[in-house]
């Protein structure tokens, strides 16, 4: 350990210990930047992280990448031992899970687009519920007339569903290959009922 000199950078093993300690201490995932900020100057959090992830592979707890952040989580195959730790959560309604899936697979997505896909207007309660769970949040406004807000999924969402990246969403590649994630505009909007659905957005 080198802790004497003011500008001594801890060696690789020590950096690994530091990342390990900080990651263990936090219940929430930490981004590389956040980790970096907690380490002494000159440390390479990203390198220490990847070494640490390797070290923990196959263990009872794992170093997992969750979106742009990292966290230590118990191995999923040991969930049966954790009955006592299970947090009872209210079951999400079908409408809410569908809306969540649409945000996750189509993000950034506007409310009108969600309604187009689901064929019904999105109730305010659902968006509120998903935002309260910190699973979706507002993204950038769309550069189209009216500059509608968009929704994207959050780091908490990635953490909750154990997703290392949005690309890891189940079946994403197949859906994309089938063209089901493209914003295919309707052939003509005037006569189609879809316009009526979209109108529900305004209510």
């Amino acid at each position: 350990m080198s802790d004497g000199g003011l500008f001594d950078v801890p060696d690789a093993a020590e950096q690994e210990r530091m990342v390990e300690a900080v990651l263990f201490a936090s219940a929430k995932p930490l981004s590389v930047g956040e980790l970096q900020a907690r380490l002494p100057h000159g440390c390479d959090a990203a390198a220490a992280l990847s070494r640490l992830a390797e070290l923990y592979a196959g263990r009872g707890v794992e170093v997992r990448k969750l979106g742009d952040a990292w966290a230590i989580r118990t191995a999923p195959d040991l969930s049966h031992l954790m009955m006592r730790e299970v947090v009872e959560t209210r079951k999400l309604s079908r409408a809410a899970t569908e809306t969540l899936a649409i945000v996750a697979y189509h993000q950034p997505v506007t409310r009108a687009e969600i309604e187009e896909i689901r064929g019904v207007s999105v109730s305010k309660g659902i968006v509120e519920q998903l935002m309260e769970l910190d699973w979706i949040r507002l993204g950038r406004r769309r550069d189209t007339p009216g500059r509608p807000v968009t929704f994207v999924v959050t780091r908490t969402f990635m953490d909750h569903f154990g997703l290392a990246s949005p690309r890891d969403l189940p079946g994403l590649a197949e859906l994309r290959a089938a063209g089901l994630l493209e914003g295919t505009p309707p052939p003509e909007a005037e006569t189609r009922p879809a316009t009526l659905f979209a109108a529900a957005d305004e209510e």
Binding site: A25, T74, S79, T97, P170, P187, E188, P193, L196, F197
Partner: protein, 261 residues
């Protein structure tokens, strides 16, 4: 339930009511016309891309007709969809009108099929998402996270301007201080007392008060006045304490003091 069997109309009424209730439940269970269409399409048991939109339109219209016969209030969007599907169905069955502009009936049908397929795909995706290992159910975070202690460090800052202004303030404060009497020419009573006390012991004979004025205080009038007043006051103070005697022979005559033995 023999009565029911014997009385046909009653049984029919019950059956109708049950059917109506089932339909109400069904309509309530659908999330809008698209959801209903998807459910109907799924009964065709074919790839949604190969779905027969005309069959689907027929099924949907039949559903709406039945609901109306049972006087079930259908939301407006179900009826709009019914009207559109009836229109689409008729266009699909007729040869295309070469004069007509806009998308063909086939294109509209294809888009409807796409919408249904996309909705179904999102439903499957939602199910797949929910089936993943979820935090707090299958995977767990540290049960006893160690919080980060926040220490507060306060640093102070000042600018050169602050510094200069502060200095200017201290250096000019005297010039703006509240008025106090300049004490250069004042002989205070405390000073007179301090001077008189040790001298009076030796004054065994009557001595003019003026003789007790401090050195250098008998010249300038202002100084002499101040010293005389304070020495007189000090003499009165000491007389009260019984340390000396005071006498004045006549009005405005010299005041003389003598130590008390």
């Amino acid at each position: 339930m023999a009565d029911d069997l014997s009385e046909g109309p009653v049984r029919d009424a019950v059956a109708d009511r049950l059917a109506a209730e089932a339909l109400i439940v069904d309509v309530a269970g659908f999330e809008g016309p698209l959801d209903l269409l998807l459910r109907l399409a799924q009964t065709q048991k074919v790839d949604l891309r190969k779905i027969s939109v005309t069959d689907l339109a027929r099924q949907y219209l039949a559903f709406v007709k039945r609901a109306r016969e049972m006087r079930i209030e259908l939301a407006a969007d179900y009826l709009v969809m019914a009207a559109w599907l009836a229109f689409l169905k008729s266009r699909l069955l007729l040869p295309p009108d070469p004069e007509e502009e806009g998308p063909s009936a086939e294109e509209q049908a294809a888009h409807l099929a796409f919408q249904l397929e996309r909705l179904e795909a999102m439903r499957r995706a939602a199910a797949a998402l929910m089936a993943r290992d979820q935090l707090g159910r299958d995977v767990f975070a540290r049960g006893a996270p160690e919080g980060v202690a926040r220490t507060r460090r306060v640093t102070y800052t000042a600018t050169l301007l602050d510094l200069m202004q502060a200095y200017a303030r201290t250096r000019t404060r005297d010039e703006f201080r509240p008025f106090v009497m300049d004490r250069d020419d004042v002989w205070t009573m405390e000073e007179a007392l301090d001077r008189l006390r040790p001298l009076i012991g030796n004054a065994t004979i009557w001595t003019d008060l003026a003789a007790f004025l401090p050195e250098g205080w008998d010249g300038d009038a202002a100084r002499r006045r101040s010293a005389t007043a304070s020495t007189f006051a000090a003499a009165l103070e000491l007389a009260r304490d019984g340390r000396l005697h005071l006498e004045q022979a006549d009005m405005f005559g010299p005041i003389r003091i003598r130590g008390r033995t």
